[in-house]
């Protein structure tokens, strides 16, 4: 492990604290307002973010926007109780007021002292840069126009092209009563292309996109405009030919990469610490037990360089980690924040995340993926007599208590006699998490991560995440088509 440069803390303090007349020493005073009798933990979370978006339609960038957000969130805990308040102002007065409000959950008990600060030891997982800088407005527009030109030139049936370029520069600093002091600078960029193609009275959409925690200039250098434009057109053309999807239980082969949202829904949410502490997850009390077929190893990994879901430190200041969740089919780990780890007698795993200073942190996924297996993807397809091959998905959802999950295919094909044949219309796949993971019978050697498009929603809070997997065969899953 390397230590973050003291410069990062200084930069964050300069951006977040100094404009309101505060410095890092002043945060001890701020915590003192929260640590009233009975409060056993408190933290102050400071954040500023600058978000920019450029949207192309009809060949022109007609829409562009800029958003500035920021403030401080103050959390006080007493046992399982949490008090929370926040303010758009980062000043000594605001700290005193939000601190008093948040600590109102208990009125009596022992008064704790603020532990001396210890800067978190974490390795940086991405550059501490402003991703919006370094590419001129003209260049951003040129990138979008390039995507438009390439998509329209790719096929005469393309009737609409929209493309967007977004970026966010986020600076955070957290100081907790347990001594934690951490800061992070989190760049995040994304490029998206969506097309509508029309032919023979049918109209279909295709879309592609991606990004990560790096400078906008890298999107240009990696030629994403061309890649995503061609990919979006390809998908729309495939869907124009799609026939009705089958209905019923079938073997399903999932392509590598983004179909990993299977893991996010079927496994990931059910292994978040809060649901397991409360006993409301279908995976509760199953630690050490078999919850998936042999060969299935699933991890949550915040340490991947420059990935959309990566975090150098989480929103409680715990360093981002590589956390095995399922190893060779056996449940070995939960994702934890400080509260749930403490109440379960476990260690935090660096999975505490919050949408912003105005939201409470919870255990959340970062980049969740299945490790590669031994099988050749061609053999996996070849092993299916009649089934579905799904390569792209819209989104998914899970009921963590019953374990039921869904995810909706946006590009899929029939497999007939071991060969990929006709494309089929999008259909929702539904299953039960632990059951579906038990039916994984082949695992490809072609692990891929998604291109950087995921947003995970939990209790109304959205955070960027990553997923990934190799080609995967599930012996049986319910496919929600119309052809019964």
């Amino acid at each position: 492990m390397t230590t973050p440069s003291p410069a990062l803390l200084d930069t964050a303090a300069e951006i977040l604290l100094r404009p309101g007349g505060l410095d890092i020493d002043a945060l001890d005073v701020g915590l003192g307002h929260v640590l009233t009798p009975g409060i056993d933990y408190a933290d102050l979370y400071f954040q500023r973010s600058w978000h920019e978006s450029w949207v192309l339609e009809d060949g022109e960038v007609k829409e562009a926007g800029y958003n500035i957000d920021g403030g401080v969130g103050v959390r006080a805990m007493a046992g399982e109780k949490t008090g929370f308040a926040y303010s758009n102002q980062i000043t000594a007065d605001a700290l005193a007021e939000t601190g008093r409000t948040a600590s109102g959950i208990v009125r009596s008990g022992r008064r704790m002292a603020v532990a001396p600060r210890v800067a978190s030891q974490s390795a940086p997982r991405y550059a501490d840069i402003d991703p919006l800088a370094g590419l001129k407005a003209e260049d951003k527009i040129a990138l979008l126009k390039q995507a438009d030109r390439i998509a329209r030139a790719a096929d005469p049936s393309v009737v609409q092209v929209s493309a967007s370029l977004t970026g966010e520069y986020e600076v955070m600093l957290v100081r907790a009563s347990d001594g934690t002091l951490a800061a992070d600078i989190r760049p995040l960029v994304r490029f998206n292309v969506s097309v509508i193609a029309a032919k023979g009275g049918r109209r279909e959409r295709g879309s592609a996109g991606g990004g990560g925690r790096y400078a906008m200039a890298r999107l240009r250098d990696e030629n994403v405009a061309e890649r995503f434009a061609k990919e979006a057109v390809r998908q729309a053309l495939v869907n124009l030919e799609a026939v009705d999807a089958p209905a019923g239980q079938l073997p399903v082969v999932l392509g590598p990469g983004w179909p990993g949202i299977l893991l996010h829904e079927a496994v990931g949410h059910g292994l978040e610490g809060d649901f397991n502490r409360k006993g409301s997850s279908a995976f509760a009390d199953r630690m050490g037990q078999r919850v998936a077929a042999p060969g299935v190893t699933v991890v949550d990994d915040a340490t991947l360089a420059d990935r959309r879901g990566s975090m150098s430190v989480d929103d409680e200041g715990t360093p981002g980690q590589y956390t095995p969740l399922i190893e060779d089919g056996i449940l070995t780990g939960y994702m934890q924040d400080k509260l749930n780890a403490r109440l379960m007698g476990m260690q935090p795993t660096g999975n505490a995340r919050r949408e912003s200073f105005a939201h409470l942190p919870m255990p959340r996924m970062t980049n969740t993926y299945m490790l590669a297996g031994q099988d050749d993807p061609a053999d996996i397809i070849g092993s299916v007599r009649r089934g579905l091959y799904a390569v792209s998905f819209g989104g998914g959802q899970v009921d963590i208590t019953s374990g039921k999950f869904v995810f909706s295919a946006s590009e899929a094909y029939l497999i007939e006699d071991g060969r990929i044949t006709a494309p089929v219309k999008g259909a929702t796949l539904i299953g039960n998490g632990p059951e579906a993971m038990g039916r994984v019978s082949m695992i490809g050697h072609d692990l891929e991560l998604d291109t950087g498009i995921g947003v995970c929603g939990k209790e109304g809070q959205g955070v960027p995440v990553g997923v990934g997997q190799p080609t995967l065969k599930l012996d049986e899953l319910t496919v929600g088509g119309t052809q019964s």
């Binding site: 022109e60 960038v61 007609k62 829409e63 562009a64 926007g65 800029y66 958003n67 500035i68 957000d69 920021g70 403030g71 109780k81 949490t82 008090g83 929370f84 308040a85 926040y86 758009n88 409000t101 109102g104 959950i105 003209e138 009737v159 609409q160 929209s162 029309a198 049918r202 109209r203 279909e204 999807a245 209905a247 239980q249 409360k278 006993g279 409301s280 279908a282 409470l360 819209g394 989104g395 998914g396 959802q397 009921d399 208590t401 019953s402 039921k404 869904v406 909706s408 219309k425 999008g426 259909a427 929702t428 539904i430 299953g431 039960n432 319910t478 496919v479 929600g480 088509g481 019964s484």
Partner: protein, 446 residues
């Protein structure tokens, strides 16, 4: 609440800020400008297993500015509505407008369309509720649910209560402001048997706290919904009539509204492009909006363009009678705005209504859907495939719960195949509808 929220003071402050932003934009050379600003304050309580879990006090503000410079548009926003922040936002919006492409359709709605009737629609009913009282209510709600035999544990009860002010102003000289409130109470419970655990919830939500269901009623209803799910089986795959319970039927109206929204139409991203005047529903079905309804969830005398709202009829006797347009999307389509910038307000169905029991009996054998999961709706083609849970129905009677299946069809076929609408109207949201019985869908299960 810890700090009093004075709506009158906040309203005056926001109006001043909006006018400052407009004046600044004009000084910086904007031909036209519009400003939206809001401030909301609220309290959120959650309890679980008889103990307080979280107490959250929220206070959110925001200001968004759009400027137009010679047909070029720029937008910027901030969650800080201080004077310094407003200057930054207006400057940024103006700077962005120097780069965006010229858009002949861009600009404010026409001046003569600005709302002039701005009545008080009775949507502001603050709740004088202390933190302690809020906790008591949430605890009472949860206790009533946990008290029902068979409930194994609680996922908790939550109460939220908030009020706020929003202001919209533009350089035509229009300034509209509205105060509003919203309160809700919900409860989620878990029951279990040897086949596993099931959870479900119920909630009540209203502008006026007097209109909320009692805490005990919400808890008991959540318990009933949860217990009903125990022993769920998987239905066999096949083609069947499907009844969408009132709590999920509003989603079908939502899909219709997205498909007739101007933004989907001019992007050719809707299965209802160029279908104005076509018959989509049975002739007994009419759907319209009532934006000026007193005290309703989405009431407002002006839309997000400042245009006077009106009672639109979108589906008249089965026929698609109107699209849902803002000033911008209307210009893109060569049409007139329908005062729907920001969406439809208080959608209401006019149709002969049947009781829930009568609809079930008309269905005979089929599936009653009470929960939908996932996205699975393709707005471009109308293709529909979603995860579901509900009940198996034989001879018009509920037999047993069903889960882990999908219902699939195409929205156009579903609208055409609407057999009946229930009188069991769910009035908690801005779309009011009873259950919908659809003649034929594909159910995929075991």
């Amino acid at each position: 609440m810890s700090k009093a929220f004075d709506a009158t003071v906040q309203q005056t402050l926001l109006e001043t800020r909006a006018e400052q932003a407009l004046a600044l934009a004009r000084r910086l050379g904007a031909d036209a400008c519009e400003v939206g600003a809001s401030v909301d304050q609220g309290i959120g309580i959650s309890v679980r297993e008889g103990e307080v879990e979280t107490v959250e006090l929220s206070r959110d503000q925001g200001i968004a500015v759009t400027v137009y410079l010679d047909g070029h548009k720029g937008s910027a926003s901030s969650t800080d509505a201080s004077e310094a922040s407003i200057r930054e936002v207006v400057e940024k919006a103006t700077a962005i407008a120097l780069y965006t492409g010229k858009d002949p359709a861009a600009g404010l709605a026409d001046a003569e369309l600005m709302a002039s009737e701005l009545p008080d629609l009775e949507v502001h009913h603050p709740w004088e509720l202390s933190t302690e009282e809020a906790i008591e209510l949430a605890l009472a709600c949860e206790a009533a649910g946990r008290g029902e035999a068979g409930i194994r544990q609680s996922e908790g009860a939550s109460l939220s209560s908030g009020e706020g002010v929003r202001v919209y102003a533009n350089s035509h000289g229009f300034l509209g402001s509205q105060r509003g409130s919203r309160h809700s109470l919900s409860c989620m419970l878990i029951a279990g048997d040897d086949k596993g655990m099931q959870r479900d919830y119920d909630y009540t939500s209203a502008r006026n706290p007097r209109d909320l269901l009692s805490a005990e009623e919400v808890g008991r209803r959540a318990a009933r919904r949860t217990l009903q799910r125990l022993g769920a089986q998987r239905p066999a795959t096949g083609r069947l009539p499907v009844m969408f319970d009132a709590t999920v039927a509003s989603g079908l109206i939502g899909h219709l509204m997205s498909a007739i929204a101007g933004g989907s139409l001019y992007r050719q991203a809707s299965f209802l492009c160029d279908r104005l005047g076509d018959t989509l529903f049975p002739e007994w079905f009419t759907l319209g909006e009532r934006p000026m309804e007193q005290g309703a969830m989405a009431s407002s005398p002006f839309d997000n363009d400042g245009v006077q709202t009106r009672d639109n009829v979108f589906v008249e006797r089965g026929r698609l009678a109107s699209y849902m347009l803002s000033a911008y999307s209307a210009r893109r389509l060569g049409m007139q705005t329908t005062a729907n910038a920001g969406g439809a307000r208080n959608l209401r169905i006019t149709a002969p209504l049947a009781s829930h029991k009568e609809l079930l009996s008309r269905m005979g054998r089929g599936v009653l859907v009470t929960e939908l999961m996932g996205q699975g709706v393709n707005g471009v083609t109308g293709d529909y495939s979603r995860g579901a849970a509900g009940f198996w129905v034989e001879n018009g009677e509920i037999q047993h719960p069903v889960e882990e299946f999908t219902v699939a069809s195409n929205l156009e076929a579903m609208f055409r195949g609407l057999i009946g609408v229930g009188s069991d109207v769910d009035t908690r949201g801005s779309i009011h509808t009873g259950s919908w019985l659809i003649d034929d869908m594909t159910v995929a299960g075991s």
